[in-house]
Amino acid sequence: MMEEKILKFARDLRRAGVPLALPEVMDALRGIELAGFYKERFRAALKATLVKDEMDGPLFDKLFEIYFQPQPELKEEYLGKTKDFSSKDIPVFLNRVLGCDGRELASGIQGAPRGRLARAVYTGSAPDMEELAREGIEMLAPHIEDELEDFEGLVYKAKAALEWFMFTFYLDSRREKGIIQEEEYLVCRENLKSLENRLRRLLEEEIINQFQEKGLDRILEYQNLRRKDFSRLEEREREKISHYARKMGRKLATREGRRKKTGLKGQVDLRNTIRKSVQTGGIPLKLRSRGRRIEQPDLLVLCDVSGSVARFSTFMLLFIYSLQERFRYVRTFLFIDLLAEVTDYFKGRDPARSIQEALEKANLSDTNNSDYGRVFYHFASHYSPFITSRTVLLILGDAKNNWRSEEKPSFQEMTRRARRVYWLNPYPEETWNTRDSVMKIYAPYCSRVMECRNLEQLAKVTEEILSQEGVEAI
């Protein structure tokens, strides 16, 4: 029975993208035999045998929670912090937070979601919070199907239904003005957090109930950093992903193996050495070397930073700059409907700040809508001479042209001169040639057009580009 459950667990884990094969599952089964079913041990045994990369940790944790830790009601983990108060504190607090000028709150407000929310998080009463969370999910339930893609969006909506943001706005401003005490504020904040956890958990349950296996897949997908859209990463996740992206770069950089490290003068040229030794009667007095032939390509990056792709582009720029030593030099251009070179902003400084600065200072747009045609025309007419047979042109953008005119000749000119042209598009391939996308017009002139919006795809793309460009061959 338990074996079956573990097999199912492993299958779901694999379906969610954790690389798993039979030997690991066997290890897991034997491991559990040895470790037993006792809480922390059971979990540690499963995790150590099935998950070999910290990156898959959140995925494992979530699935484990769903499989082995059912939580029908609000339990300790979600239980709020209770403040010591006497019952008359509650109306006083409510008045201070939600009321104005100390007037009595109308009973309507007390009964409105924000009133009940305030009361629940102030008292930390578990049943009240549970009820609120369930209410939020109930209001949301009929609409889940439309937005199954966007978990955070759903959480946001459930919160909005509880007038969450209105309450936190009041809470923050009353604290600033010193109307509520710091201690009260902290208790509320902490309880809001437990309530949010509860809300998320209920939402997951609801999704699984409504959509069964498909729902489970969706939930695991939200946890899967490898497949999470760059533009949807939260700050904390972004840091983690950047770390992995750098690590990936390193893996690529070292893949050739470095047993034969080339000296400053390059490898020994045996042929030349022997030829020269003829002069000295066949005794090779001087070692000739082949010299170091540098084959680092130049990289020109053209980067759409309009609203629809800005977050993707900035992430990609950060990644490129973490790899910049692999190229002879990198020149960066940003555009929306105007083109600007921003290479100078990146000189020897923290790339994240440089991007921010470049975005603020460079003149990139008249209308705030991308215009690929105009930008290509500008680029071809000003920068063509800089594109040589060692230039790799990298274009980052969604190719959404806002119904503006195309500029095939310029693009043809740019790409003809370059050694290779890559276009990375963060949108799914199915959408490329729909609506205002001009992907199909420019694609024939590119060496490769690739989908790239998450770590998994980025890995593929980098591998392909770097292997093609055979950087620094001797």
Partner: protein
């Protein structure tokens, strides 16, 4: 090691504080048996874990430090050419046939055993630590995979050498490079993170019995907060312990701004981090 409780108790006896999770994984690695791949930030006690396991198991501790360019000759074995040459010269006086000489010089006598071969051929139990595996290159990784999946290696002149007893293998990585799936598949995986407040406090007290109670919690509190700043290299447990020892040497009994600033280099190893932390010392000291 008979049970998880046993592991916990023995680790504790050897002054290594472990939780259930860690003990479980160690126990499994020992019983399955599988090499253990330990990842986590620098300075959280990954290497220490291998050392303490050697003491717990009463095993010989063999360490292989990885670096870029490490190869089989440094990890597995090498022939002692000079000595072989001497032997040949010596034996050539006796007009022996080449076959005889060959039989004489390719024997264990002329073999330099490097850590992996040493671990496999040892008659006593062994803990083999492959330290900082992420610093080696992928050829070495494949080689290691071969050696550790069957616990045997082949030396062309001698034949296959099979492990006398299966060594307890710990591989550590600071996560600067990703490993091949095949290698990960054969290991158990353990991620060690920075300890939480209570764990770290317990470790400090255990290792520095002389430290004043209040100071220990102040130190811990401070370090925990420093880790939340986004630093290039957040302090690990080893740095915290160094810092605690510094306090004992200085005879301090509580943390003060001036004292912290003077001793900060023990804790923080990069100039740019130093700037960040120094600015915040007063607020970091608050509430401790």
């Amino acid at each position: 090691m008979e049970s998880i409780e046993d592991v916990l108790k023995k680790l504790n006896n050897h002054q290594y504080l472990a939780d259930e999770k860690l003990a479980t994984v160690l126990y499994l690695a020992y019983r399955l048996p599988r090499p253990l791949l330990v990842e986590g930030p620098a300075g959280v006690g990954k290497t220490e874990l291998a050392k303490v396991m050697a003491r717990v198991l009463g095993a010989k501790f063999i360490r292989l430090q990885c670096y870029e360019g490490l190869d089989e000759a440094k990890a597995l074995y090498e022939w002692n050419y000079q000595q072989q040459l001497l032997k040949i010269q010596y034996e050539s006086r006796e007009e022996k046939s080449w076959e005889d000489i060959k039989g004489d010089i390719f024997t264990e006598e002329f073999l330099f055993k490097r850590p992996i071969l040493e671990a496999l051929t040892s008659r006593e139990p062994v803990v083999l630590l492959v330290d900082e595996l992420d610093k080696s290159d992928s050829e070495f990784e494949s080689f290691l995979l071969e050696a550790l999946s069957d616990f045997q290696v082949s030396i062309p002149e001698i034949g296959t050498v099979k492990a006398q007893r299966i060594p307890f293998v710990v591989m550590t990585s600071n996560g600067t490079r990703d490993f091949e799936d095949a290698l990960k598949r054969r290991c158990l995986h353990l991620y060690i993170n920075y300890p939480d407040y209570h764990m770290e406090l317990a470790i400090i007290k255990l290792k520095n019995p002389g430290l004043a109670e209040g100071l220990a919690s102040q130190l811990t509190n401070f370090v925990q907060k420093v880790r939340e700043l986004s630093l290039k290299k957040p302090p690990g447990i080893s740095e915290t312990l160094d810092w605690a020892r510094t306090m004992i040497i200085l005879g301090a009994d509580k943390l003060e701004e001036d004292l912290v600033k003077r001793t900060l280099p023990v804790l923080i190893k990069y100039q740019q981090d130093m700037g960040k932390v120094e600015k915040q010392v007063p607020s970091l000291l608050l509430g401790s």
